[in-house]
């Protein structure tokens, strides 16, 4: 079957899995061994090769030791206490109405202007008809089908286009990469697959929002995006609304592959539950994201707005292999309360004339702890490679911290490297100036912070940028004083 045919078949097949993964039974008992890995694969009805890949990853994971980071504190994770396969909550277990939901969460939804039906879905309430995005999604699929773009869950892709999965999955982040990547490869629950054929400019921004079953992808999400020669795709992940989740550990893997002249723009808004004021119950977000600029003149651009989770550990990276390929990383990370974030990027310059740009804006409030950790490596063959890095930290209050650890390795004499870093505080002068013009203290803070983040927000698709600004304001409410 040719790949075009494959695409056609998939988009026309009217999603025989009904757009949600079918699961016979509920939850596997906690614990992890080979039988559990096999059981996951079996329940997902996966082909043999996938089961083998999972087992290989699991066996490798056993040989690895859990990493520790000096700037992040959390109690040791008991991997045998986690259940690695859980069906979506049964309706009778879910909250029955919004009355049962934490009022603080509802208040945030209201501030973000989220419609009531959608609030219910986000809060995990069983709703029969999931608002109107069912119809939106259908129109969406038709348009994509015309363009030949595949956009489906990873589970569907494993069934429907196994040859693409075989070729590309694990080719950027192999299961041997790191402890959590190995774990993910063994037990990944679901995720997103995007394939853009040669020369196609994806006609719309792709967003998980339009994939209804994306809401229950579980704790080990897996995303794979392949952009063939000369194609373009922009993908949005996440949601500004804080999502409730029962799973504390999230270890996702995202792989991007850009072939010659292709461009992938990947935007994330991450707002998982950060825990209570003491940091209890918050999500651990340990993510491996990597893009491979495999072809000449390809481009991968990461933009992230990270405001949630108790602990965020992620370094979206670019392997700049193709000549004249371009990597970009734009990041806004907010830590408040007791949140901790260790985030940054890696730009690995391999090909000639490769270029990368890093703009990182860290905001720390309350007792938040934040670390920028970045690596720029210019390899032996990367003649004429260039990097520009800018790391700015903004502190609010006097109990938060910000660290910057830039690592730079240059192995070619022609490389041009620029690094700028600043750390500043919102000054009383700035606040008083705004307030003397009639703005409240909170409005003043949000205005100053949004100004600080502007360069990054400019990279986000329009609607997302507006939401991100709103989100930031809400996140920092009460952060001063």
């Amino acid at each position: 079957m040719t790949s075009t045919q494959a695409v056609d078949d998939i988009v026309k097949s009217e999603y025989e899995h009904g757009f949600t993964t079918e699961i016979e039974s509920d939850t596997l008992p906690p614990g992890l061994d080979e039988d559990v890995v096999r059981a996951i694969s079996k329940r997902k009805g996966e082909p043999e090769f996938m089961t083998e890949l999972r087992l290989k990853a699991y066996r490798h994971w056993l040989t690895m030791t859990e990493p520790e980071w000096p700037a992040v504190d959390y109690p040791k994770i008991d991997f045998q206490a986690i259940s690695y396969f859980s069906a979506p909550k049964r309706p009778e277990d879910a909250p029955k109405s919004l009355d049962e939901i934490d009022p603080a969460l509802l208040e945030t939804y209201n501030k973000l202007g989220i419609p009531i039906e959608e609030q219910k879905a986000l809060a995990g309430i069983a709703v029969d008809a999931v608002f109107d995005s069912v119809s939106v999604a259908t129109t969406f699929r038709e348009t994509l089908a015309e363009a030949g773009v595949i956009f489906c869950s990873i589970s569907e892709a494993v069934h429907d286009c196994p040859e693409l999965i075989r070729q590309y999955m694990g080719s950027v982040v192999p299961h041997t990469d790191n402890y959590y990547a190995a774990l993910n490869a063994a037990v990944f629950s679901d995720g997103t697959f995007v394939y853009v054929p040669k020369g196609v400019r994806c006609p719309m921004e792709l967003s998980t929002y339009f994939r209804i079953n994306a809401r229950n992808t579980g704790q080990f999400e897996r995303t794979l995006i392949v952009a063939e020669e000369g194609s373009y795709v922009s993908y949005l992940e996440g949601c500004t609304a804080p999502q409730r989740d029962e799973n504390q550990l999230h270890a996702a893997v995202v792989e991007l592959i850009a072939l010659e002249g292709a461009e992938i723009k990947y935007s994330t808004v991450q707002n998982w539950y950060p825990g209570d004021e003491q940091g209890k119950g918050g999500i651990y977000n340990f993510v491996t994201k990597r893009g491979d600029c495999r072809g000449a003149r390809s481009k991968i651009s990461w933009t992230q707005v990270e405001t949630g989770s108790a602990i965020t550990w992620k370094y979206p990276s670019c392997l700049l292999r193709g000549e004249d390929s371009v990597g970009e990383f734009y990041s806004v990370a907010v830590t408040k309360g007791r949140q901790q974030a260790d985030t940054g990027t890696k730009m690995i310059h391999i090909g000639k004339g490769t270029r990368s740009t890093i703009v990182s804006k860290g905001i720390s409030a309350g007792q938040g702890r934040q670390t920028y950790r970045g690596l720029v490596r210019i390899g032996q063959r990367a003649e004429g490679a260039r990097n520009h890095t800018q790391c700015d930290s903004l502190l609010i209050g006097d109990r938060c911290t910000a660290n910057t650890f830039p690592y730079i390795e240059v192995k070619h004499p022609s490389a041009q490297m620029e690094h700028e870093a600043t750390t500043s505080k919102i000054s009383d002068d700035e606040l008083f100036y705004c307030r003397s013009r009639g703005l409240t203290e909170e409005d003043a803070v949000s205005m100053i912070v949004n100004g600080f983040c502007k360069e990054v927000f400019n990279e986000l698709p329009m609607e997302f940028a507006v939401e991100a600004q709103k989100l930031l304001s809400i996140s920092l409410e009460g952060a001063v004083g």
Binding site: S436, G438, M447
Partner: protein, 251 residues
């Protein structure tokens, strides 16, 4: 309109204002002059609600309301405006956006409808015309990288837009060359009206050549030691502050 009685205020342990009295009626322009360290800027800051000053006694009421218990933004919402001696730079915050947010915040507090983008831009254009300013300041971040003259012009522009009932100009002339001074003074004069009072705080008489006050007060050691008409300013220019302070001591 503004009534200040026996105002005393400290910065840390040091008393800066020592029983200051001032009455400002509607539409009046009062100049407050005085040597360095006399408490001019402290007075401007205490009126506008800046932190770091402790009022130990006395009162300040604005249209019958006790100013001293209000937050800075509440004072602004009542119609108080402070033109800063050193306007603060807000990098990344677009000037137009800032002004719109400020104006709408004030309108909202007053129970007025917020302006949409179109009406706001129309309003901005009108104000620019009155002040003979071009629109180059609008697209930039608030005061970021502005020259001294541009910053002061931006203050006056904000004042024009927010239409305060009482504007306090804190050493608006400092750091301006004569051309910039004229532009700023012309702006201030254009905004004079029977409903708008002003307190012009200045060290030099120079500014008062352009902004003609109704009253001139001399502030020394935290008190107003002499008040008079605009001729007082000229006399001060000629004889210096020493003269009046010496006279104060003799009396």
């Amino acid at each position: 309109m503004l009534s200040v009685k026996g105002l005393r205020a400290n910065v840390g342990d040091k008393e800066i204002l020592r029983g200051l009295d001032l009455e400002v009626g509607p539409g009046e322009v009062h100049a407050i002059m005085g040597p360095n360290g006399s408490g001019k800027s402290t007075f401007a800051h205490v009126l506008s609600g800046r932190e770091g000053y402790e009022v130990t006694s006395g009162s300040a009421t604005f249209e019958g309301k006790d100013l001293l218990v209000l937050e800075p933004e509440e004072r602004a919402q009542l119609g108080l405006f402070l033109a800063f001696q050193y306007p603060v730079e807000l990098s990344g915050v677009n000037n137009t956006y800032f002004l719109k947010a400020a104006l709408n915040s004030i309108r909202k507090a007053r129970g007025e409808e917020e302006l949409d983008a179109v009406s706001f831009l129309r309003l901005i254009k009108d104000k620019l015309k009155i002040l003979h300013l071009d629109d180059s300041l609008l697209k930039r971040a608030v005061n970021a990288g502005f020259s001294g003259g541009e910053k002061k012009r931006n203050e006056i522009f904000q004042m024009a837009l927010l239409e305060p009932k009482l504007a306090i100009l804190d050493e608006t002339d400092s750091g301006l060359d004569i051309d910039a001074l004229r532009v700023v003074a012309d702006g201030v004069n254009a905004l004079r009206s029977p409903e708008r009072s002003m307190i012009v705080v200045t060290h030099y008489q120079r500014l008062l050549d352009y902004i003609q006050p109704d009253y001139v007060h001399v502030l020394a050691k935290g008190q107003i030691i002499r008040s008079g008409g605009k001729e007082l300013a000229l006399e001060l220019e000629e004889k210096g502050y020493g003269w009046i302070e010496a006279e104060g001591r003799a009396a």
